[in-house]
Symmetry: C3
Subunit: 344 residues, 3 copies
């Protein structure tokens, strides 16, 4: 009996440090999502292999450390991938932690997070999109303006509310543009963001606002969005209103999405209307898709989407890993995609 116990404890001792290391130190995680896609523009189409149609393909390393006294430290390194080409976030590029690269201290007070992370205003456009911004069906509410979209931002400091506030959640975020003092545009690149929401039972609602400073105040970019979803069981309707304003240009989006569990999967659909302050430059997007869960970690999906432009607009449907054919002013663009998404 005693022998057995000593064997047992020897076995346990042998295991314990490694379990500790495996559990507490580093988790390797990711998504590999590859599909076949067809994009049609006004005069040409293209067929090919796409990536990230249901979830952005990624490889990451993360972990937390229990520091005692209710405090935790954590890190998160996450790189986007173009799996169809074996590349980093863009075709031909290499692996870097463009999606997230942060260190955190967490406790009853919430979380302080430093590094490169999602911009606060981007997060709501993702959360209130049935397609999570991905694939041919993904929302255009974060790529409305001409110019680089504000998705992740470097040199950021964020504070997140704790999970214990009875459903209230939120975040304030400041990112440094890191310009020299005394120069004319010393605040260029600074970003301030605020996100605040309430999630309880079937309801989720959030408001976010942010400003990215430009070289001049006319180049400042202001972003606002408001999301709302309510799970009725048979269907979860989602509403998103979002605006982006830079100088005299203002674009706004109004989206109505639905997610409905059907069989071992999910139907997703969304109608979006995009308006600029130039009445000729408007467009709409209609997307419908189905995701079928093969297992806990693997799903098949299919999505169809169409963008219709008014006379002054020329928006196209794109997908990661495949160059989109152009769309002429006032023309329309379609996207078709079937794929497989595997998480690890």
């Amino acid at each position: 009996m005693k022998n057995l116990l000593s064997i047992l404890s020897a076995v346990a001792a042998l295991i314990a440090p490694d379990l500790a290391r495996a559990q507490d130190t580093v988790t390797v995680f990711g998504v590999v999502d590859v599909g076949l896609a067809r994009l049609t523009g006004s005069s040409a189409s293209v067929n090919g292999v796409s990536t990230g149609g249901a979830n952005i393909s990624r490889l990451g390393f993360r972990g937390t450390e229990d520091m005692g006294g209710g405090l935790k430290a954590g890190f998160w390194l996450e790189a986007g991938m173009d799996v169809d080409a074996g590349a980093g976030k863009a075709t031909g590029s290499a692996l870097n932690f463009n999606r997230r690269s942060t260190v955190s201290v967490m406790g009853a007070f919430g979380e302080v997070r430093l590094g490169r992370d999602d911009a606060a205003t981007f997060l709501s456009t993702l959360i209130f999109d049935p397609f999570l911004t991905n694939g041919v069906g993904g929302t255009m509410a974060f790529v409305m303006r001409t110019g680089a979209p504000l998705i992740q931002i470097s040199n950021a400091v964020s504070y997140f509310l704790p999970a214990s506030l009875g459903g209230f959640y939120g975040q304030v975020q400041h990112a440094f543009g890191e310009q020299l003092s005394g120069t004319a545009n010393s605040s260029q690149g600074n970003y301030n963001g605020l996100r605040f929401g309430y999630r309880a039972g079937p309801l989720n609602a959030a408001f976010a606002t942010g400003k990215l400073k430009g070289a001049t105040s006319a180049a400042d970019i202001s972003l606002n969005n408001l999301g709302l979803s309510y799970d009725l069981g048979v269907v979860r309707p989602i509403l998103l209103w979002a605006t982006e304003k830079q100088g005299a240009t203002k674009v706004s989006a109004l989206q109505l999405g639905v997610v409905a569990p059907i069989g071992t999967g999910q139907l997703r659909a969304q109608y979006s209307r995009f308006n600029t302050n130039n009445s000729a430059v408007d467009w709409t997007k209609l997307a419908i898709g189905y995701g079928y869960d093969l297992s806990k970690r693997t799903a098949l999906y299919g999505t169809v989407a169409r963008v219709s432009n008014s006379s002054g607009a020329a928006k196209s449907i794109g997908v990661q890993g495949l160059a989109a054919p152009g769309t002429a002013l006032g023309s329309s663009s379609s996207g078709y995609e079937v794929g497989i998404r595997h998480t690890f």
Copy 2:
């Protein structure tokens, strides 16, 4: 007794989820292979540190998921490395999954694989080479033409036969060039490959054929190869015949290789003859090497090789991580390499 059992099962419960995660989710694997090499050309030589002399240095992440019903899903991300310089696949570059970046569904029907992968026609040149295409001794049967060799290919869809066909194996592969419709060369970059073989007991034989579409049909590249090996116990002779044709240019290879277990290691040797349809542009390669297994995962190796060119050819022996000195027309080139290969 009961107490012990409960302790045991507690220990087992503690372990079980992590074993599951470690086994089923992500395996980090790789090869670190570094050597000292000397390359001599017609008028100069170079000494230095090489990499991948016995197996291409790589770092990878892979895993499978049992989805039930005989189905599995899997992913494979594998990046080449120049260990001598701490770089990605080429000196000065960074990590990307250039070697393989795929998602698969596997079952009794075989495997469907999507993403970037070895080209079907390349695989046989590797399998039927005693040097596995690596180091100073590696086959030149996939780098016969002037122009980029066809090793891995992006945007590919492959179907592999299951392992249950009594020794028959094979693969069909289509890779998309992803050109716009309606353009003159809309099929440019499309690749179709087929590989079919039989492996049973001491015998392995395979045939592969493929075509990479160019901007015009004269730029199409056609590849064919036929490999045969037979394990006699004391020695395994290997035969490879391969051709590459682009427009009026045709190159063919005929190789006779041997692998012989000697002591705790392997003798590898190969004679190759390369002929073009221009009778002045031919060359031969002779290579001999020995790999000594220090342990299950670590081996030392040494290889010597020589290329002899006919009057119109100027082929050189190269090695990863070391720039080769040039070879004049009709001259010869030699390579010497000793190294260590460690797998993990």
Copy 3:
């Protein structure tokens, strides 16, 4: 009893292979270190998010294999990171194993190591610096010259003495410049380094010397350094003398540092004096910092430093992840940094 034993051994068998793999094959490790920094030059300042203030941020993969007979093989792949920007070793770049990328054979004889590694002469400047070369306080003894500092070097072969020599340790290192023979500067890029030390009880002392060959002998870079530290318990004083010479230019450093355990942390301070053979081009650096251990793997730190230039010098304090404002000749530069360092 027998049943229990068989259950036990079944459990052990279940665990054993995975423990073996987890322990012996690959350890994923790293440092994520992010801070807030302020750098001031002669006419401007900059605030922002820095990285590596206490330890260079990194992600690595390493492992060893017990080959029996007292021999081990091992590999080490380590990439620097700019966590503030989610990038590789420099802003905008991607992941590559720039810090270390090696394969080793180890035994009673010591270690033979091949690949990219720290230069022997750099190591002592790190070991005898209270700030380990990092952040605003880090030594400038390896970046004294104008021109690229010699930190890591590719294509290196090193031999390290074993740990069993009663406190003596050391290393000889040769790195290949990999130039073609017969050219005017065929030895360009070759590096030879030697490091030899003694560490016992409270004492650590080391000498290192190295030469990097240039295109001409006037471009050769000669490096020498001598470090000494003695742990008095309440404080560990550290002395470093270092020189770099290229052609007619010679720079030398004399540093006095201290590390003192105070509370759950460490006080670090250092005074450094840098002299060139041009009497107008001298500078001094004063740095003081405190690191507070929140837990085994996580620490907070704060550092303040100042460089004062003589009339012909214009050295600045820099920090990874933040572009430093310039410093005018004869002016001074300051750096302030608080941050968090988390290891995994």
